[in-house]
Structure formats: C-alpha cells, structure tokens
Symmetry: C2
C-alpha cells in the first residue's frame, strides 16, 4: 500500500525531506545565511493552494514544485536580484502520499539547482488542503534594482522571449485533440513551456554588461517586471506604477511559430497578451540599449512598443487589419474597449 503522510507523521516527513536541504543550514530555530556586503535584500512570497493554483489531477508533483519555485525566482529576476534561497511551508492532508511530497520537493530542487539556490528552511503541518507557501530571498546591487515605477516616456518596451507558449501548453493538456495540429517537437515545446517555465535570471548579467559598456546619454534605472500574469498585465502594471502610457505594435509582438497551424490571428494575440505564466521579463529602457539587449538575447526577444505620455496602453496594428485598441487591467482581451 502507498505510504501516506499520516503513516509517518510530521516529524517523520521532515526527516525524509531533509535530503533536499543543506544539513548545515537546517535543524535550528531559523536558517542563517551569508549575504554579500553592499547588496540589498530582496524578498518575495507566494501561497499556492491545491485546486486553486495547481491540481493534483493535471499537474505532476515534480512540475508543481518546479513551477512554484520558478514563479518565485522569476519575481526576484524581475527586481534585478539573484536568489540566495527559499523557505517552503507545506500544509498536507493526512492521506497525501509520501511519494507525492518527495516528488514535489524533487521538482522544486531541480529548478533551484539550475539557478544555484537552495531550500534553506521550512515548516510541515497538517491541513485539510494541500498548501505550499514559498518565500524566496535574493540580493541585488541597490543601484540596479528593477522597479515597475521607473519607466520613462520614450523608453522602448522589451520582452525577453515569446509569449503565449505556456497557455498553449495548458490548452493542449486540457484538450488532447488539439495535438493533431502539431508535430511531436512542436507539441513538446509548448507542453514544456507550461510545465517547466524558466525564470529569466540569465538576462540580468547580459543586461548589466550592456548598461556598463554602452555609455548611454540620459540613462535612468531600468524599469520592468515579469510576465507571470500575462504580457498585457505586465505592461499595464508598469504604466500605472510609472504614470505613463504605451503604444504596442501588434506586428512586433513575437508569437510562437507553431501557433499558425491551430490558432486564428486573434487567438494567438490573446494567448500572447493574456495567457500568462511565460515568466519572461518585460523591461523598459532607452532605445539604444534595448536594441543591443534584444540582439544579445535572441530567441524571441523583441521591442514590442514604446512608453508614451498619458496613461493608456494602446495596441496598434501597422497592417491595419485590427483597429487600435486600449488594453485594460480589469478586462480581459475578450472585453476590449474599442
């Protein structure tokens, strides 16, 4: 019979999970971490509830763990911070299998290891619903913090990669019949985009090197956030926090090529703008920096628009196939005000 959490208890489970944590850090009232001098501490937290944010049914425990860790590391990347460690609070019903929990931790640590970070502490408790509380810690040069509120009129808006893949992957998992439109490689790319999203911590050293080597006139702090809640949301949040507007050019938004075979142009745009969970970075910076950054990043990185005066975020189509549209936070794509 499958061993359940209630069979080994909280203490027994903690002992099983210790192999995912560095032994020199755990085992006391709190974890002690060494931070680099002259760095600011950056902290972010997420609470994930079974049935709301992940599903025992459609998500493997490894993928749920990976995605939870990736989302928090992406929040750090969005601030310009490199991860130091995460804490994991886990609430579990007694009938969850021990194997499920170990696989969840396996997925988390796989993601963390890729970015040289660790689980440094946690808590395991009984709960009627499986609950995952992650707090991620990072450090950043205080002069290189990326804030939502720093966008300036004239900035180019850069996306670090294509958008819509993760949502497409989810749709393929929910509606297997859609697979017939794609070959295996295309299918696997979209599924992986959903199951194993990559926080874009790799962008930071590239960005800072460009900022340092290019002597840009009128350089201001880079503005940005991640696109975990969708590309439209990211741009709208940045504009709101910075007190500016934006014009996006429909034809510059990079779509996955594989969308052509099974989505209309309108659907593809909806996936890209509102799909969410692509965990790319959306950055606002002077055009001359943006050009070099996009060139260095490749792989779907693009300038998708420009920061403008005002507060509206306009979507423009230079082919004039679609009329100009105003994006809004509260309304999804289907409720566009025209």
């Amino acid at each position: 019979m499958t061993q359940q959490v209630r069979d080994i208890g909280e203490q027994g489970l903690l002992e099983r999970l210790q192999r995912f944590c560095p032994p020199e850090i755990i085992g006391d009232d709190a974890a002690v971490l060494v931070t680099a001098p002259e760095q600011s501490l950056v902290v972010t937290t997420d609470l994930l509830i079974d049935g709301v944010h992940f599903s025992h049914v459609t998500t493997s425990p490894e993928d749920a763990g990976w995605r939870a860790a990736a989302a928090n590391l992406s929040d750090l990347a969005a601030m310009g911070a490199f991860p130091i460690g995460i804490t994991v609070g886990l609430g579990l019903p007694g009938d969850v299998s021990v194997n499920w929990v170990e696989r969840l931790y396996q997925g988390m640590t796989e993601c963390l290891q890729k970015y040289n970070t660790l689980i440094v502490g946690g808590d395991v408790v009984r709960s009627p619903v499986t609950t995952l509380a992650i707090t991620a810690f990072g450090q950043a040069d205080p002069h290189r913090i990326i804030r939502r509120s720093a966008a300036v009129v004239g900035d180019a808006i850069v996306v670090t990669g294509v958008h819509g893949n993760s949502h497409a992957g989810l749709q393929l998992l929910l509606h297997p019949e859609l697979r017939q439109n794609l070959n295996d490689a295309e299918y696997n790319t979209l599924i992986k985009a959903h199951q194993r999203p990559q926080p874009r911590l790799d962008v930071l050293p590239i960005l800072w090197e460009i900022v340092e080597t290019l002597h840009v006139t009128s350089l201001h702090p880079v503005a940005g956030m991640d696109s975990s809640d969708g590309l439209a949301d990211a741009i709208l949040q940045i504009c709101r926090a910075s007190g500016v507007g934006a014009v996006l050019e429909h034809r510059q938004i990079p779509f996955p090529k594989t969308f052509d075979s099974w989505l209309t142009e309108e659907q593809a745009l909806e996936y890209a703008l509102y799909g969410g969970e692509d965990f790319e970075l959306v950055l606002c910076l002077p055009k001359e920096l943006a050009d070099v950054l996009v060139q260095h990043l490749g792989q779907g990185a693009a300038i998708v628009g420009t920061i403008t005066v005002g507060s509206k975020v306009l979507l423009h189509d230079k082919h004039q196939k679609f009329p100009d549209r105003v994006l809004s936070l509260s309304q999804g794509f289907q409720h566009f005000s025209q």
Copy 2:
C-alpha cells in the same frame, strides 16, 4: 450585512491591507530591504492552519495575528537575531469577513511595532481553509548566533522567565469554571500570557552586554532555543543537537505563584515543562555568565539545571518528594519513564 472577502475580491482586499505595510516597500514584484553590513541573514517560516493552529472560535483575530507574529519573532530571538521584517501569505475562503482579516493584520502589526519591525510583503489568495504563512527574517552578528548545538558540559541552563502561564491561560479559556480560584489580576495575567505572548528579543542586548563586560575564561558560543514547544522540549532538543545530557532541579524551575491555588504540584510541573507557547528563551552558558544574566533579567529568570555528559535529561527533586525521572521528546509528562 457584514462585508465578506468575496465581496471585494483579492485585489480589493490587498488594497485594504496596504495600510498595514510601508508604502515604499510594497507594490512591486518583491520587497527591497537594506541590511546592515557584516550581519548574517536569519530566516524562519511558519504555516498556520485554521482549526489546527488557531481557531476562529476561541481566538480573536487580533490575538491570532499577535501570536503568529510573536512565534516567528521568538524564533529569531532564539537565534540571536533582530527582526527586519516579515512576509504574510494569507489564504481565505470567500465567506471570511473583511473585518476579521483587518483585525488579524491589526494584531500582527501591534506585535511587530512593539519590536520595531514591519510587514514588508505578502500574498492573498483564495483557499478552502484560512491559512496564514509567515516568514520572518532578521539579522545577527555572525559571531553571536545562538545555536542549539553549542551546549557544553558544565553549562548552566537558564530560562528567561516562568513557564506554564500560556497553557494555564488556555485552560482558563477552555474551562471558565476554573476562574473561581483566581482573583482578576491573576486571571488576566494568565489569559494575557496565552493571548499576547512576548518574544524575548529584549534579552539579547542584555546578554551581549554581559558577555562583553565579563571576561569569562573558556567562553564558547551561547547555546539555546525558544520554549515555544515547551521547556522540556527545548532542553531535550538542545541536548540532542549538542550531544550532551542535563540535570534539571525541580525546585529551581520557576512556577507562576498563581498555580498554588488551583493546581497540584504535579500539574504545575506538567504545565511548566510541557505546556508550551511561553516563548521564553532557554540558554546554556557558563555559570558565572548565567548568574549575572539571571540577576539582570529578574522576573522569573532562573538557572534550572546543568549540562552533563551523556544524553539523558534527568529531572531531580532535592526535596526527594518525587523520584528522579528521565524526560523524553516523544513522550509527554504523563508517560514518564521512571
């Protein structure tokens, strides 16, 4: 009608809760905090579930908030760390009243303000069960970290205050008829000990001043933890982590005076050793330091025993009313091996 969480949504609730957070810190992907140079980062996390760790029924939301914050600050104190801030992840069913949530945050911030710290970030999500995930982070001089594993044979074991008050307060709340044994002041002291426990961050500057001014021979790092899971648990955990034993003297364990009127001697000992949630510190340090520390702390601080070779924790009664007993982690007081 009482406004419920579902009436205003997650975004609406977040806006209501922003008044409990410093505006310059929240509103981005993560919080940015300045830490002191040369300090280590200390991190601790707790997950609290309605019906398991607190109750909508017997605990006011202010007290639940205070206790949750206090428990995490106590973990920092137990490491020798001063708090920088906490993050709060909150999972809520739609039918929780907005007022309940605001009162919970009120209780948390009351506790935090007393210790000059803040809520610096968080997450509010939908959940079938009210869930509170707190991560507290602090900073400590790396040479003054208090670890469970640092106890040395011959150390005096200091408690920073009386034990059993919190459990007594809980019993009085659960069994109102017990109140008849106490006057109002006595009753209120015990209730408050349960509802508003005080993390002993105040002990740290006193401890360090004594360590600095007294030139103790053979000084080693101070060992210790907090007594959140009971005094017996704290001593047993320290002994296990340090590879040592201990002898406790029954007559040196400080009991609340108010126990005499309604508890047997055996019950009083049980409350003190196993009651839990008193959030005092249990420290192991050279006798000459311990004497000065106890004198400075007053208010129930006492040397309750000595660290010995071996691994057993013995409870000795110099009046020989009780036989020597061995304390154990897995068994409560009622299951003493004799």
